[in-house]
Structure formats: C-alpha cells, structure tokens
C-alpha cells in the first residue's frame, strides 16, 4: 500500500491479491486516512482504522456503517514499470 499526492488529493494505491486499486485516502465518515487500516484480500475491502467501516476497493462503496457515502476510486493502468492513475 502506498499513498501518493496529487493537488490536494491523497490517493492510496493498494495491491489486493495482485490487482492494483486506487482510492481516495479519506474515510467518508470522518475524513481521516484509510490507508492505515486493515486490508482484506479475500473480498478486496479496506477497514477504516477509527470506526471500522469496510470499503470495497473496486467501487469505493461502504459495506458497513457508520460510513454511508462511497469514497472516490481512480482507474489504474500499468505502463511498463510505471503505475499510472487517472485523476480528473
């Protein structure tokens, strides 16, 4: 897992069982960082370290409360040795 910055966005790039996903590193519940949370590789979810909300890395949707709004996700492309993220 690695956090990169673009403008004011902090993006966590997560390796889930060999597939890379990029998510906004900000829990939609309390705005704190997500990248410090536990990663569950069997269903590609990340758990917010503060209140336990589970987010789907593929869609950004929360799978448990207390978060109820999705977090942003970004398309990932592998270009040789480079990992490229599409950010609008």
């Amino acid at each position: 897992m690695r956090v990169v910055e673009w403008d004011e966005l902090e993006i966590a790039v997560v390796n889930c069982a060999g597939t890379l996903y990029a998510i906004e590193d900000r829990c939609s519940h309390d705005d704190g960082p997500l990248a410090e949370g536990v990663l569950y590789e069997d269903d590609c979810t990340i758990e917010c370290p503060r209140h336990g909300s589970l987010f789907d890395l593929r869609t950004g949707a929360p799978k448990t409360l207390p978060a109820y709004e999705p977090i942003e996700t970004f398309p990932v492309r592998i270009d040789g040795d480079l990992i490229k993220l599409e950010v609008e």
């Binding site: 758990e47 209140h51 336990g52 909300s53 448990t64 109820y68 709004e69």
Partner: protein
C-alpha cells in the same frame, strides 16, 4: 470500583402534589426486582478477559471458524482502544478485570417453561414473564446471565416464515442469514464497547420477518442478570423484509449488589423497503450496573424505524439509538425518556442521519433528574448533501425535581444542503402555540393544555407498550410534564 456516593441533602424545592407523589418512584426496586437466586451454574468463567476466555466461549457454542476469528479480531480492537473520555466521568470507574464474562445457567434454550431450571423459572415467574407471554405477546425470549434459557414463538407466525430465536441458535440454524447481516450495521471496531461485545457476545435475539408479514402482537425479550460482577453482552439483529412490520420489546432487571456489573449490548436493525420496525426498551437495571449499549438501524426506501427508549435504572447509561435513513422517504423516530435518581447518570439521546432525499425524522427526548441524579441528552442530526427535501424535528425537555440534580443537552446538527426543514425546540410550550391557545380558550390552564397535547402525542406509543411497562412510562410522563410549560 467507585465508592458509594455521599447521601444527597434534603431538598427544599417546592413540588406540586403530583410531583411529590412521584418522588418515591423506583424506591421499591429491591423488593420487586433486586432479589437474587442461589448460584447453581454449569459454568462460570473466572473474572477478567483474555484470548482464552474468548476461545472458550466460542468452543462452548461450537461456532464456525469465521465467528471465532471475528471474536478474536474484535478482542484485539477492544484491547487496543483506550477507554472513552467523553460522556461521563463515571466511565473511568469501569473495571474490566473485575467482571465475569461468561456464565452458563442452563444446557440449552427451552421451548417450554417446564423444562427451564427451577431456580431460573421461579425468577421469571416472579417477574411476571410467563404470564405476560400468555396474555399479550406473540413470542418471548428470556435471557438469564449469558444465555437465553427460554424461547418461544407463536405457531401461526412460524408458519408465515417469521424467525424469532436466540442469536446462538440462529447462528447454528440460519448461518447464511446471520452472516449476511452480522456486524454490517455496527462493525466490531465501531467503538470500544462494540468491540467488547463483538469479542464476547452471547445470547440476544434474532428476528426475521418475511415480506408483507405483519406481526400484530409484540415480540418480547427479557434480560436478567443474577450474579455479582456479571457482564452481559447480548447481540440482537432484526430484519424486517419488504412491507413487513414488527414490534420488539425488551426489558431488563438485576439484583442490587455492592459490586458493579456491566451490560454492553449491540443491536442492529434492518428495515427493508416499506417495512416498519418499532423497538421498545424499558431499561430498569439495578443501580450497580453500567449500561453501555450500541444501537443502530437502517431504514431503506419508504421504511420506518422507531426507537422507544426508556431508561429508568442503572448506575450509568450511555446509549444513543440511531437511524440511518438510506432510502427516499424513509422515516426515523426516537422517543427517549430518561430518569436519573441518586447516584445515577443517564447519558441518553439519539442520532438520525438523513442520507437520502425527502426523508423525515423526529426526536423527542424527555428527562427527569432528582436527588442529585444527572441526565444528559446527547444527539446528532445529520443531513447529507444529496438529502434534499428532508424534514426533521428535535424536541428536548428536561425537568429537575430539586436543586441538587443536573441536566445537560449536547445537540449536534450538521446540514449538508439548503433545501431542508430542521427544527430544534427546547421547551414544550413551543410544540404548538396554536393548540395551546385553542385549548386555553376552552377554559384549560396553560399547564393542563400542555399536558393534554403531549399526552395526546405520545399516547399512540405508550398504548402499544405491554401493560406493566405502560404504567411505569405513564407515571414518568405525567411527572415530566408537570411545571414544564412556560
């Protein structure tokens, strides 16, 4: 644990005759509920919490591996989290090492009172539970210490596909259904007490109501703690499928001891589109019980969730039932009544989150403090950015019966868009000035008129309560309304 508080000095406040008649409320607790049985247990865990205890609970219940893993992970979260410092200074006195985390009184949950161990049955007889079941309930669960000792549901409901069972049985017999919903509303790391419950949960109810089924009579669960320094950690899930209705009622009591007990439940409600769940609690723990409970619900499109939360007992209660309004036109309602006497702190409240458009909610919180007791209303009202057209009304009202008691209000309101209608009212006189004026023009005093309006308002809720609880609630509400106008 904390020392006994110093006695409160005699009050000099002048009371109306109605208020004075209610000063003795709760003083017969020891006689009515405070008795205890001899301990004749199959298993009683030593005091304290560790990995071994958690594994033992899971082993006793022959649980699937995923539940055992869930418990152990939750234990890590519990140990890693500091004790919360907000809420009440009394929270610092909770001693997690001085608690028995698991006590088994009976081999299994029985479907006939005749099969329940004699001592335990006698207790529930004395509390009037079997009688209540015969008279006005569709199903009953009775939990004694850690586990449910009796469970029964009306045959007609079973035929319609209603599941009402204890949570341990549900995990054995409806594992897929439990797994689908368990801890989705309240994850194990939501807060320290939810983590504790997730690690050592035992008992509680599992309810599933199929689409379109209306359970006309309430389902009831009764929770009893018997031993000193006991920890009770039930876990309840209620799923009301599309267009269904269910009313669940819970009550709880414990003997009066000098050593403190801990009750920490987790309750998750799921109201599918068009469904309605009403969840009523009459909490009457003895004054040596810390009651630290997490209750949360989701209401999908056109669904309704109502929490009727009445807190009479316990040493310290911290409980804020919440409703997440996730679908359009969902409705959430919390009626909270708290009563704090000598040595008690009731930190109660409600949380409503409007996450979808055109959702509506009401919070009515009433509290009474006497003899140095303290009650607090702590609430959150949140309206998300996209939840346009939402309406909410929050009414908080407090009554102090003497100058030694205390009441606080901590309302938080977060509004994410302009197109909403949110009202926060702190006094009853604002409920409806026109109604007051109308009644007063017919010769009623302002106080009589106010009482009539509020009684009329809450009557639909109170009349749905089982009789024994409704009487207690009415006494409280009567008291609460005295002198609160103007």
């Amino acid at each position: 644990m904390a020392a006994t508080p110093t006695p409160t000095p005699e009050s000099t406040k002048t009371l109306t005759p109605e208020e004075a008649s209610l000063r003795n409320l709760g003083s017969d607790y020891t006689e009515r509920y405070g008795f205890h049985d001899a301990e004749n247990y199959l298993y009683k865990a030593p005091k304290g919490l560790n990995r071994e205890i958690v594994e033992k609970i899971s082993e006793f219940k022959s649980e699937p591996q995923w539940m055992r893993d869930f418990r152990l992970k939750a234990l890590e979260y519990f140990l890693a989290r500091p004790q919360p410092t907000w809420g009440s200074p009394m929270l610092a006195d909770v001693d997690y090492d001085d608690i028995h985390y698991f006590v088994r009184a009976s081999e299994r949950s029985e479907r006939s009172w005749d099969d329940v161990p004699e001592d335990v049955k006698k207790t529930f007889d004395r509390l009037g539970i079997p009688e209540a079941e015969r008279n006005f309930l569709a199903g009953v669960g009775a939990q004694y210490e850690s586990e449910v000792v009796y469970h029964q549901v009306n045959e007609e409901l079973e035929k319609q596909g209603v599941i009402f069972t204890d949570m341990d049985t549900a995990l054995r017999e409806h594992e897929d259904l439990v797994k689908e919903y368990f801890a989705t509303i309240i994850p194990p790391n939501d807060n320290k007490l939810a983590a504790l419950n997730s690690a050592v949960w035992s008992g509680g109810s599992f309810v599933y109501v199929p689409p379109g089924v209306h359970v006309e009579m309430p389902l009831q669960a009764y929770f009893r703690i018997n031993t000193e320094n006991m920890g009770q950690f039930e876990r309840t899930i209620i799923i009301a499928d599309e267009g269904s209705y269910v009313h669940y009622v819970e009550g709880c009591t414990a003997p009066t001891y000098s050593g403190d007990s801990l009750h920490s439940a987790v309750v998750e409600l799921i109201a599918k589109p068009g469904a309605r769940i009403r969840y009523t609690t009459v909490q009457n723990w003895s004054n040596n019980v810390y009651n630290l409970v997490t209750k949360r619900a989701i209401a999908e499109t056109d669904a309704t969730v109502e929490w009727v939360d009445c807190n009479l007992g316990s040493k310290l209660t911290m409980k804020y039932p919440s409703v997440y309004l996730m679908g359009e036109r969902a409705h959430g309602e919390v009626l909270s009544i708290a009563f704090a006497g000598e040595g008690q702190h009731q930190d109660a409240g409600a949380k409503i989150i409007h996450a979808a458009p055109n959702t509506t909610s009401n919070i009515f919180a009433k509290s009474i403090s006497k003899d140095g007791g303290r009650s607090s209303y702590r609430g959150l009202l949140e309206v998300a950015k996209g939840a346009h057209g939402s309406k909410s009304k929050v009414v908080c009202d407090a009554l102090l019966l003497d100058e030694h008691s205390r009441s606080d209000t901590y309302p938080t309101i977060r509004i994410g868009n302009d197109d909403v209608d949110v009202g926060h009212e702190a006094t009853v006189s604002k409920v409806g000035d026109e109604q007051l004026f109308y009644l007063m023009s017919h010769g009623l005093t302002e106080e009589e008129a106010g009482k009539l309006i509020v009684n009329g308002f809450i009557e639909p809720i109170v009349k749905e309560l089982p009789m024994e609880y409704a009487v207690e609630m009415n006494r409280l509400i009567e008291l609460q309304m005295e002198g609160s106008i103007g």
